[in-house]
């Protein structure tokens, strides 16, 4: 059992490295054949991002573009992509990881390749994902760590120096940062029968303190706002590997709603990637009806909030009845409430009353 995960991740690493090398070969051969090098990839323009109602996520359509070094507007991003592929291969072969920001800085001083800002380097990394049809985590490129996980889950590390080492995620009472090591680890065993995903750090800490993981027999995940892809992938793995139901708990406003939805159906930005969404996950609050039922302290919806609700209302991911109903309620009452609003009834109210009732109802 302990050998298998390690081998599996090693195999993935080799495949990734081979595909990067293959890209290099392709370009090298093209130049050798007196041809301006080019790479075919799916178009990421908005008109090629389609919602697949069967997969329940956004996917890229069939339109492809050819990034061509003969094109004066393409040659700079093309060069940057080749450099980034080389950089990724270095990371993979040396078993290192890097953050998106570090990639941006690593190109500094590389004349003519230098990115004008992190959005540019992020974009080139996405191009590489599309071209090779692999998520950047495979290349060892991660976002800044900000989300965390806690609960009775034993993982086995695959990162260099920790291979085979195991850890139980209750070992650290602040929760464990979801970084490259956690992301690439294998899930060994758990006693939990559900996962609670929480948008905000304060509520995550409150749940740990109130031993919500024990009381609800759950793994707790903190997304820290819109959840990073690695966190979404972990949520999916927990759901797929052990069939654990996922419950998402966010602020009661359009932004909170959408944090839940991205976990469930994915984002347009990651339309080129699969295996990030968890269609089975459920949003359990804070609902508009909760605001009414629990008489929560509220704030008025801003103009921006209302506009966003209008957008969600027509978004293809929000066609299910529960979403339509809750959006209507928010729009009707014109109010919103944060997770912390339950503190009105005492710090433990949420764990003692609200969550049990909610979990019961779903």
């Amino acid at each position: 059992m302990s050998e298998t995960p390690h081998k599996e991740s090693e195999k993935q690493r080799e495949i990734t490295e081979a595909s990067l090398k293959q890209l290099g070969n392709l370009i090298y051969e093209q130049i050798q054949n007196r041809e301006f090098p080019w790479v075919m990839m799916q178009s990421r323009s908005t008109d090629n991002i389609i919602y697949d109602s069967e997969l329940r996520q956004y996917i890229l359509g069939s339109r492809t573009i050819r990034r061509h070094a003969r094109n004066i507007r393409h040659i700079r991003p093309f060069t940057q992509m080749v450099w980034t592929a080389w950089f990724a291969r270095e990371l993979v072969s040396m078993r290192k990881t890097s953050t998106l920001r570090e990639v941006y800085y690593s190109a500094r001083g590389q004349r003519d390749i230098e990115f004008s800002g992190q959005p540019e380097s992020d974009n080139i990394i996405t191009d590489l994902e599309v071209a090779l049809n692999r998520p950047r985590e495979d290349f060892g490129i991660f976002p800044e760590e900000r989300s965390a996980i806690f609960g009775d889950l034993t993982i086995e590390y695959t990162v260099p120096g920790y291979e085979g080492r195991r850890m139980n995620l209750t070992d650290h009472p602040d929760g464990v940062m979801v970084g490259p090591a956690v992301t690439s680890s294998e899930f060994v065993e758990t006693s939990a029968d559900k996962v609670l995903v929480i948008e905000k750090g304060a509520m995550f800490n409150r749940l740990i303190e109130e031993k919500a993981h024990e009381r609800f027999n759950s793994i707790l995940v903190h997304t820290a706002g819109q959840s990073p892809r690695s966190t979404r992938k972990i949520i999916r793995r927990l759901n797929q590997q052990w069939g654990l139901p996922i419950y998402i708990f966010t602020d009661g406003d359009p932004w909170g709603i959408h944090i839940a939805m991205v976990i469930i159906s994915g984002s347009a930005n990651a339309a080129h990637l699969r295996d990030l969404a968890t269609p089975e996950a459920k949003w359990i609050g804070v609902w508009g009806t909760d605001i009414v039922d629990y008489k929560l302290p509220t704030e008025n919806l801003t103009e921006n909030d209302s506009k966003r609700l209008g957008e969600l209302k027509t978004d293809p991911r929000y066609t299910d009845e529960i979403w339509q109903r809750e959006i209507d309620v928010f729009m009707k009452i014109g109010k919103k409430a944060e997770l912390e609003a339950f503190s009105r009834y005492g710090l433990t109210y949420i764990v003692d009353e609200y969550l049990p009732a909610k979990l019961e109802s779903v």
Binding site: N25, I27, Y28, R34, I72, R76, F78, T79, V82
Partner: protein, 519 residues
């Protein structure tokens, strides 16, 4: 009042309106005289001009010695005193293009020098034989020369030409830049002339000859009936030897044959056999009026005109504006045209490029000529300014307000349509204005091709730079990425990109209207 007296009293008409303008007017009269003298015998002009300051006087003006020598025809000794010491009535019965603004030669200058300094003028001249030197003054009231000294010298070297040396009051410092403009512009339009100027500070200015070709001399032609006025008609009548009006018309006017003469006289209601000498003044008025409206005359004969020609004008502009091969120059000589019975030809040139932006302020610089004389003053009142700034939409030709541009316009005619007596700028006579507009437009069309091609060439060069920058990086990192030893050869790719560039430059040279090297 004698003609000398008239000009003495009205010297500002001839341009001697103040001490600085007097210097300019004097140089202009004497220099153009010299150029005419050289061209008359088809000698390549070699002209030396020197202005020396003698004494400073009050109010900023000084006394200067002005000396000009040429290698022209020279004057027969017996004619020298009258040529320079007497103002003639005009007595021309034929027409041809002439340089002299007022047809007075240097006499007005000598007159001015005399009245401001009371010093005699020295004239030295030879037609190839002995050299004659006269020191003389003008008797203004009686309009005649007063010879103070006459010396005859041997001419061993067979020198031919004329030297004029006189003193005059003037203000050089305030006219200096205009005078240098004038000399440069004169050098442009007379590229076969070699000009040397030494200024009062002893500085030497050289305007070297750029070609040995000279334009053909204008021929004298009879006046065209459309352009005749009552006074000139009367003079023709007074000198004619013809006995009948039909013969008179055919003899003294161009474009009048048997049939035209009959029809014209019929239209004027004058008998074919009427004696010219017995025409009444009202008959002459009738004839002149009828002539103006009569449409069956042939077009005026342009052989009396002497345009500079595209090749010579190009040579002159290239040498004086220091244009290089990469600068643009297009010269257009239009076909002859007429206005009010006077033939005229418009020539125009447009130049741009980095050499222009080094010499002139950004934007458009206009250089004007009338019968090969540079016009330097009142630019914004003249027809050329109007055409350049009002008639032509420069953005059509990809020219914008900061494009360095020099526009040269030359109008030659037996009668330049000057707007004022000062003869500093041309009126917007409709036919002339139209021809100037067409000439500049024609040149500008080629300019447009040049500008868009050079823009394209610059773009191609920028493109190549980009490929030169990125392809090596692609090669380098694809080599590293694929674990290869040596980077792939990008030279074939770069040469594929760069072939686009010589192509464009080649095409620019192919533009037939850009003459490569006139020298």
């Amino acid at each position: 009042m004698s003609p000398s007296d008239f000009f003495y009293r009205n010297r500002e008409i001839a341009g001697f309106s103040n001490p600085s303008r007097a210097i300019y007017a004097a140089v202009r009269e004497l220099l153009e005289n010299s150029l005419d003298a050289c061209e008359a015998q088809k000698a390549l002009p070699e002209i030396f001009l020197r202005i020396t300051e003698v004494t400073a006087s009050e109010s900023g003006s000084s006394i200067y010695i002005m000396r000009i020598s040429d290698n022209g025809t020279g004057l027969p000794p017996e004619e020298i005193p009258n040529c320079f010491g007497k103002v003639f009535y005009g007595s021309k019965y034929t027409l041809k293009q002439a340089r002299g603004t007022f047809g007075l030669g240097g006499t007005i200058t000598i007159l001015y020098g005399q009245i401001t300094t009371h010093k005699p003028v020295t004239i030295t001249s030879s037609t190839g034989g002995e050299i004659h030197e006269y020191e003389m003054m003008i008797d203004i009231q009686n309009n005649r020369p007063m010879i103070l000294r006459h010396r005859v010298m041997e001419n061993k070297k067979k020198w031919r030409g004329t030297v004029v040396e006189l003193q005059m009051e003037g203000d050089y410092s305030r006219i200096k830049s205009r005078l240098l403009d004038y000399l440069k512009e004169t050098a442009i339009v007379n590229p076969y002339a070699d000009l040397t100027f030494v200024d009062p500070a002893g500085r030497l200015y050289r305007y070297e000859r750029g070609t040995e070709k000279m334009p053909p001399l204008p021929q004298a032609v009879k006046p065209h009936p459309h352009g005749i006025d009552v006074e000139n008609f009367r003079r023709l009548v007074s000198i004619t030897k013809e006995k009948g009006m039909k013969a008179f018309m055919m003899e003294h006017f161009q474009g009048v044959g048997q049939k035209t003469a009959d029809n014209f006289l019929k239209a004027a209601g004058i008998s074919r056999r009427a004696k010219p000498k017995s025409l009444k003044p009202e008959d002459i008025v009738t004839l002149v009026r009828t002539a103006r409206q009569f449409s069956d005359f042939k077009r005026p004969d342009p052989s009396c005109l002497s345009p500079i020609g595209e090749e010579l004008l190009e040579t002159g502009i290239r040498k004086e504006l220091n244009l290089t091969e990469s600068d643009f120059l297009k010269v257009v000589t239009r076909k002859p045209s007429t206005y009010l019975g006077f033939p005229f030809i418009v020539e125009a040139a447009v130049a741009t490029g980095s050499s222009i932006s080094k010499q002139y302020k950004s934007g458009t610089t206009i250089i004007r000529y009338a019968n090969r004389i540079p016009l330097l003053f009142d630019e914004s009142s003249g027809v050329v300014w109007k055409v350049v700034n009002k008639n032509i939409n420069w953005s059509t030709y990809k020219v914008y307000s900061d494009t360095p541009l020099v526009i040269v316009v030359h109008v030659c005619s037996t009668k330049i349509p000057y707007k004022t007596v000062g003869k500093e700028y041309m009126a917007d006579q409709p036919e002339v204005e139209k021809e100037i507009t067409n000439a500049i437009r024609t040149a500008a069309r080629t300019l447009r091709v040049y500008i868009s091609r050079s823009q394209r060439a610059a773009r191609e060069r920028r493109r190549l730079n980009i490929f030169e920058k990125f392809l090596p990086k692609i090669a380098e990192f694809s080599t590293k990425l694929s674990d290869k030893e040596d980077p792939p050869d990008i030279a074939p790719l770069l040469s594929a990109v760069s072939t686009a560039i010589p192509d464009v430059e080649e095409k620019i040279k192919e533009v037939p209207t850009i003459v490569g090297d006139a020298a």
